[in-house]
Symmetry: C2
Subunit: 338 residues, 2 copies
């Protein structure tokens, strides 16, 4: 087990390296932090830390930098979450308060997170999985063509075109609309399939084909939209990544464009509280030199989606975690109000 002081040394190394972006040596450490011991002692501690794999030297006769394992220990044991100051909290709230609709809430959240953390922000749209159906609307576009509009309690709207096997009368349409809504309005997505199962039976034979088509399109939409959408921002902050540019940021940009990758990434975050994935802990190869800080957010007690930031492993973890947590909290409030 590592002694108390060695942990302090590790903490100091992480803090200094995050600040200066340069390998930190024993002398500089003793000068900037009053550890109460000499550089030589620190050197011994550093050697021990290196044996354990918490730090490494880029080359002989250079200072040490933390490894992924070192950051992990730092995050888990050595640092807390830095709370936002009162002015910061006010700024967050003020910035989010002006949002007019769901898109706007998400857009503002992304910008805010990116600015606050000076990193790349990723915000998932509130999930449909736990959402309920607020309303289903059916519109006749043409005799044998309908538009299906699904509205959720989080304010999200999805639409699909439906090509009917046979023309569908206006009265049948009104009938279907009414029956559909009386069954599914207010219900959870997951409950919908069993609730509409027997609906075609209530209709004349000639309309059943169309009803079935509409229903299967509806179910499809419910499933499909569980592949959630997300918004990203602050990619310009990638330029502050390091010096060895193209090689590092290329795969990151590529990963960021693959929504599937990002969704999986956010999906891995476990409840509750802020989750941090450091460097190689990220499954996706392109993100091996980045850390992902994410957290769930939601309007009520339940989290309906996640948000987070992607940045270099060399990041200010306490501050980032604090910002992410604070933003999630306020977005939750905003969603609850609307």
């Amino acid at each position: 087990m590592l002694s108390e002081r060695r942990l302090q040394v590790l903490r100091a190394i992480v803090q200094d390296y995050v600040g200066t972006e340069e390998p930190v040596g024993s002398k500089a450490l003793t000068e900037r932090h009053n550890l109460g011991v000499s550089p030589a002692t620190v050197r011994n501690d550093m050697a021990a830390l290196e044996d354990e794999g918490f730090i490494a030297q880029p080359h002989t006769s250079a200072g040490r930098i933390p490894t992924d394992k070192g950051y992990r220990l730092f995050v888990d044991k050595l640092a807390g979450v830095k709370p936002m100051t009162a002015p910061e909290r006010r700024a967050i709230q003020g910035f989010l308060d002006g949002a007019v609709d769901l898109d706007d809430v998400v857009a503002r959240t992304v910008r805010l997170l990116a600015q606050l953390t000076r990193q790349v922000a990723v915000v998932q749209y509130p999930s449909l999985t736990r959402s309920t159906v607020r309303h289903v609307e059916l519109l006749a576009m043409a005799p044998a063509r309908l538009m299906l509009v699904l509205i959720t309690d989080t304010g999200r709207v999805e639409q699909r075109m439906v090509d009917c096997p046979a023309p569908f009368g206006e009265t049948s349409l009104a009938d279907l609309r009414a029956r559909l809504n009386s069954r599914v309005a207010g219900r959870r997505f997951t409950d919908v399939p069993s609730l509409v199962e027997d609906l075609p039976e209530a209709f004349e034979a000639e309309d059943r084909g169309t009803v079935s088509t509409v229903l299967s399109t509806l179910l499809e939409t419910l499933v499909e939209e569980n592949e959630e959408r997300l918004m990203i921002g602050g990619t310009a902050n990638l330029t502050r990544f390091g010096h060895d540019f193209p090689l590092v940021i290329r795969p990151v940009l590529e990963a960021l464009e693959e929504q599937v990758v990002l969704l999986k990434l956010l999906g891995e975050a476990q409840e509750p509280g802020v989750t941090v994935r450091i460097g190689h802990e990220n499954a996706h190869e392109g993100l091996n030199s980045t850390s992902v800080v994410s957290v769930g957010y939601g309007s009520g007690g339940e989290a309906v989606a996640k948000l987070g930031v992607v940045g270099p492993t060399r990041m200010d973890y306490p501050g980032t975690m604090g910002a992410v947590r604070a933003v999630a909290r306020y977005v939750g409030q905003i969603l609850a109000e609307s």
Copy 2:
């Protein structure tokens, strides 16, 4: 006026520089293109071209590179638009054909353009300005709270919450919904205001406040959504920009996040045909080292939106223009079908 051969020299310089990314000298030029003259002659021509401001040398004793003005001449007079090959056209069509809804069309278009040109692609959502209203839907969320859903003929859906000054009955709601649709369905956005002006008068005094509120929200939505949305992709291609990374790509990334900037950029493209803005021709400062190739697209004869790519001034103009034009054409077809 420049002689025929000097123009050929300029063309050769542009082509070589685009290919090699390195300043091109007189000797290399005569070797790669059979101009029928010696390097010395080419040198004289180059000196003339430099005097006119079409090419420049990064430093003394280096080859020449084209200036913005040089590219401009190249695009205007020396090169055409390179048409897509048949297989390429088939690939484009195949890729776009699978789209299920408007979002998907736009998303696929972005990916396609980015892949084809190996640059950053920008696609504007079909504009509402020239669109017509397909349907307006009103839903009661709470006694004094409505949701307004607007559906356009391009398949776009927008929703807004409306807080009513007074509770609004179910019958009044149905009445308003019916009257509203009979007036505005199929009409152009721009015509809507005058069409609904006198609508409150048809209602009881107690409901008029709510009706007015709904109407003003509707009009607001129409206007607001003219601030169009867009989608970008292929940012990873920015890494192939040049060697002096961070400085160049930072402002580009920033500009790309400012939708307003991009919309203005696309807006500047004039009909008809492909528009090319080179380097400093772009108003936005961050894009001074990029060129923008854009074109309008639309379902019918009219262009309803624009799309384009952003890349280094050192780009393959004929190829890029060809790809942009071809994609726009096929997207137009897809939109017309749906």
